[in-house]
Point group: C2
Chain length 339, copies 2
């Protein structure tokens, strides 16, 4: 939706923002009703889509118009069509279908945090009980592992290619907080000599093991059950993967973990961190910078860290050098830190 | 927030939309904590604003960064500043302060509707019990009358100037569903010979009468309590105001009301309708077109009507001619229909 005209005050942005929650609901409703899939199948008028999705025609017309305003559909002469993004990510028949991610992203565990945002701002951390999402063995992470895997398939491929481009040597990898396991698994499919050890809560590892089996790399896939802060990592790793993990904790806690990572690496080994990394201004780029709000409302003391902050955390933990790498077209970044 | 790069699929818009509800929560939190007011008073760093608003510094930093990403603040070298819109509409000390509108716009009565959007799409109308917001004497309209008045002050002034520019003749006005009363009241302040009859639920009229008194027009301000569909309007009106009312009903119901309006007008009198009027494509302009979703989820059969639809409703009710007028800088439009 557009913003206000320069130099003339307008309540438009206020109005749009107060109602922004409706955009979330519209996307959820469209996924639930399989609207994108219906359009992908060739239903293009409100009447046709409504029939396929078993809704009223009026309701479907209003929803499809709203999705068009949200730039998730296009409309011409009364016919709706998918955008490139919608056809790739929201049509159930697409291998990159993300609809399942709503199971995680829209779960009360995640959204309840933002419902208590005022209190979280007062406290400086989540207003939810029991440490928010980072409590031990929290069942949300099984939802994460199942729902977010399609969203992670592309970055996981890109990360393996970035870090192990030649893929011609034996490489021993520890995948911390592996979740769906896709990051480690993609190193294994990228390089037949890669051996992965995945660490996460027991129930989550069941999902990772399923995915390793599907990828045909089970014979090079081990697991360690438990908290990254408590269990023995083993030693001699060439790479330790920290994908979307450090943001859950404050910097001293992160450093404690990184010291343990440092000790588990072989000489010349690398920690590979995938993160939402805001610029120093902390307001750009918008998706990475805005992620700090999710950590404020959902964790006791997590944050989206700048590269300078990450660099210092790794240096304090004994790493010699950290470098920052983009991972286009994703908006996340990779920090590679040398032991 | 930005949208995806052309020709390269990106899950960015999906991710932003699934989290769009956080924008609503951030604006609500900032209003509740008086962040905009604090900045207007001269507090510009996260530490200063946090102190003034009695929050943690970290929480305030994350909130202000998020508001900056939302384009409701600016940030430079660690100092936050209000935008033009924020200073006019979100600083409590501003006469146009809109913070109170959240009492209405964020009330469960309005937001619960959109939480059941899937069911509303299936049914073609609100999934809430008891007709949603249009049930008899619904208390939401007192919140509306109190909370939305500041947002309506400007359009109400503009409407009186548009419809009665010379303001030099006696004019008898019926203000249907008057709410805060500001539309009728502004005709009275614009023209000393204007006489207003305001119609609404009894509790709502108390707010309108307060506002008429504040504006010094009580001696020309009468009221009729009850439903516009049931009560006797009287007759001989030069103008009947229908501001943000027709969108709550289906077209036959609207026409029934318009016949009653037609009968209450003097010969040559006009109905004056202020509405969200989408273009024929129903997806532009975004704010007016998107309003249809609020009616789908909040009312049994309301909608945002195109000018062609409104024109036909008025014609069917006996009006000779309807014309469409913009009301800049608002995004609403005015339909003037002649008896």
């Amino acid at each position: 939706m557009s913003t206000s005209v320069a130099q003339q005050p307008s309540p438009q942005l206020f109005f749009q923002t107060i109602n922004a929650h409706m955009r979330t609901e519209a996307l959820k409703a469209a996924i639930e009703l399989e609207v994108f899939t219906a359009i992908g199948e060739g239903n293009t008028t409100a009447a046709e889509i409504a029939k396929r999705c078993q809704t009223s025609e009026k309701g479907m017309r209003v929803l499809c118009d709203y999705l068009t305003i949200m730039e998730m559909l296009t409309k011409k002469d009364g016919h709706y069509a998918l955008t490139l993004d919608s056809s790739v990510f929201l049509d159930k028949r697409s291998p990159a279908y993300l609809g399942g991610a709503t199971e995680f992203l829209c779960s009360p565990m995640l959204t309840d945090g933002s419902k208590h945002m005022t209190e979280a701002v007062r406290k400086g951390g989540t207003a939810m009980e029991d440490e928010g999402t980072i409590g031990p063995d929290h069942p949300i992470w099984v939802k994460f592992a199942r729902g977010m895997a399609p969203m992670m398939a592309m970055p996981a491929q890109l990360l393996a290619k970035l870090v192990d481009p030649t893929a011609d040597r034996k490489v021993k990898i520890l995948d911390i907080a592996a979740g769906h396991g896709l990051y480690g698994i993609n190193f294994a499919t990228n390089n037949p000599q890669a051996e992965i050890t995945a660490l996460d809560w027991k129930a989550v590892l069941e999902v990772a093991k399923e995915n390793a089996q599907k990828a045909g790399v089970s014979d090079r896939y081990r697991t360690i059950e438990g908290s990254a802060f408590d269990v023995d990592f083993g030693a001699g790793y060439d790479l330790v993967l920290l994908t979307n993990f450090l943001h859950h904790f404050d910097q001293p806690t992160g450093e404690t973990l990184l010291r343990k990572v440092h000790a588990a690496l072989a000489d010349g080994g690398h920690a590979v961190t995938l993160e939402f990394v805001p610029n120093e201004d902390r307001v750009t780029p918008p998706d990475s910078a805005g992620f700090s709000m999710m950590m404020l409302t959902g964790t006791p003391s997590g944050d989206a860290y700048t590269f300078a902050e990450l660099e210092r955390m790794f240096a304090n933990a004994g790493f010699s050098r950290s470098t920052l790498h983009a991972l286009p077209p994703t908006f996340q970044q990779v920090v590679i830190s040398e032991k």
